[in-house]
Amino acid sequence: MRQRWRLRRCEPFGRAILLTGVETACSFSCMASSPDITERLRLAQQGDRAALDEVFALVYDELHRLAQAQRRRWSGDTTLDTTALVHEVYLKLVDQEGAQWNDRSHFLAVAAKAMRHLLVNYAERRRAAKRGGGAATVSIDEFNPVAEEVADEVIALHEALDRLARVSERQVGVVEARFYAGLSIEETARALGISPATVKRDWQLASAWLHREIQTTLSPP
């Protein structure tokens, strides 16, 4: 029987993602390593938007869950090993026997995007907590690697990436893979199906542009 995914509304490729809770995220762990995600990944690659959103939601929740678990394992540390996380999520969610080489690459690109949204989510929680509203559902001991002072920058970067997406989705993909998932130039190239030289050029141009945008947002002229 085909498993049914429990999905919340989550439209990372259109609008902002809704906050998801740790408890519900944990409910996915029992469905890990289903062959279904590989199938969905392939549908997504062929342009199936709904399949892509479903894969994204799964990856997002698993990332969040593993981020909290990683925190527990390394208690005392205040950073997230994002590169290890995206690879761990892959091993967890994708049935290794049925998977093909390009499944993994494509998966990492989706995972990088999910990592970006996870980080923004943490930043928004910080901001909400600072303002004293909206964050009532978040337990106090939840691990949040994003410090209060950085929250505005993380959100400014996220919004600048949304603006960049209007002119180059590809460059957004490069920044997500390099910055949020810590993928190497070669991994990024494979994940996005472009050449390493393009990755390097895109990263240089996009990071210069984004840096300028963030500065303008944070300290308007």
């Binding site: 990263w203 542009w209 840096h211 300028r212």
Partner: protein, 325 residues
């Protein structure tokens, strides 16, 4: 911004990146023709590229998601940075990673030392120090100081600079293996003083003078290395000297001055103190403190209290009141 316009920016930006930094403005002007806005935009982005690399390295660590993949050193070996190919690792530390590198274009058969600050190491302080060291080296031009040759940002945004590669051995080792006489040792030491004097005249305090940073080449030339924790005295932040000398930086206690150990403001006298320790070692074969430190507080005690030269047994005591404290 519309996608069509962005394609144009991309194209000119990419063309400019293929040129040496000096030639870029010319290439951009030629490519943009009378499109002044495009020229302005591309030049602004080219200018933003280096600070952007530093910014993102810093942001990832401040946001709690340092990218470990990019700090791996192995991935750099065999790669080309600027026009240099990285041959092997010479050293690494919190202040960057140093490789032996060779000119890639075979124009010169020249070996250089190339220092990188991989993305991910980049805390704000590490990045500032890295860029500061580059500025410091740029202002020093002396035969006794390893020269800065080149610098820039790799394609993936890692800042680097290129220094003269010094194939030498630490000064104490050189003196001993070559069985130098006292006169020869003093001569060598004076060359070191010359180089340090040059730095001081340019308001640069090295702060980490020790044999491992003072190499002697096979033909007997002295070269000062590693201005990684050096500082410039005329910078406005030197006003808060005490905070700048905080415990975190990796200076070598065995050659450190009392003010360094105590975190007090640093002047050129700190280097002179280290030179004194070095001279002692060169002439006697022993370190003045004669033992290792068991802890930072032990070091502070030994350096600031117990080892005042006037209290070291066997040394002639100063006479009268004008002697050393």
């Amino acid at each position: 911004m519309d996608p069509e316009r962005w394609r144009q920016v991309e194209e000119v930006f990419a063309a400019a990146l293929e040129q040496s930094p000096a030639a870029r403005a010319g290439v951009v002007s030629a490519a943009c023709g009378d499109d002044e806005a495009l020229r302005h935009e591309v030049l602004s982005l080219l200018e933003a590229a280096e600070p952007a690399a530093a910014y993102f390295a810093d942001l990832s660590s401040r946001a709690g998601v340092p990218s470990p993949a990019s700090t791996e050193v192995d991935q750099f070996l065999g790669r080309t940075v600027g026009s240099y190919r990285l041959v092997r690792l010479l050293g690494r530390g919190g202040m960057g990673v140093v490789f032996l590198a060779e000119r890639d274009d075979r124009q010169f058969e020249k070996q250089v030392a190339l220092k990188l600050l991989p993305l991910g190491i980049g805390s704000t302080e590490a990045m500032q120090r890295f860029l500061l060291e580059r500025q410091i080296l740029a202002r020093l031009e002396h035969p006794g100081i390893a020269r800065l040759l080149d610098g820039g940002v790799t394609e993936d945004g890692t800042p680097y600079y290129v220094m003269e590669y010094v194939a030498g051995v630490p000064i104490d080792e050189y003196s001993d293996t070559n069985r130098l006489t006292v006169a020869e040792r003093l001569e060598l030491f004076l060359k070191v003083c010359d180089a340090v004097d040059h730095a001081h005249r340019h308001l640069v305090v090295h702060r980490d003078l020790k044999p491992n940073n003072i190499l002697v080449t096979p033909d007997g030339k002295v070269k000062l290395l590693d201005f990684g924790i050096a500082r410039v005295l005329d910078r406005e932040r030197s006003a808060g000297g005490a905070t700048f000398t905080g415990q975190a930086h990796p200076m070598t206690l065995a050659y450190a001055s009392p003010e360094q150990v105590q975190g007090a403001p640093i002047t050129t006298a700190s280097d002179v103190y280290s030179l004194g320790v070095l001279l002692y070692k060169l002439l006697t074969g022993f370190h003045p403190y004669r033992r290792d430190f068991s802890s930072p507080s032990d070091a502070e005690h030994v350096i600031c209290v117990r080892s005042r030269p006037s209290r070291v047994p066997g040394l002639p005591q100063p006479t009268g009141t004008s002697g050393m404290p």
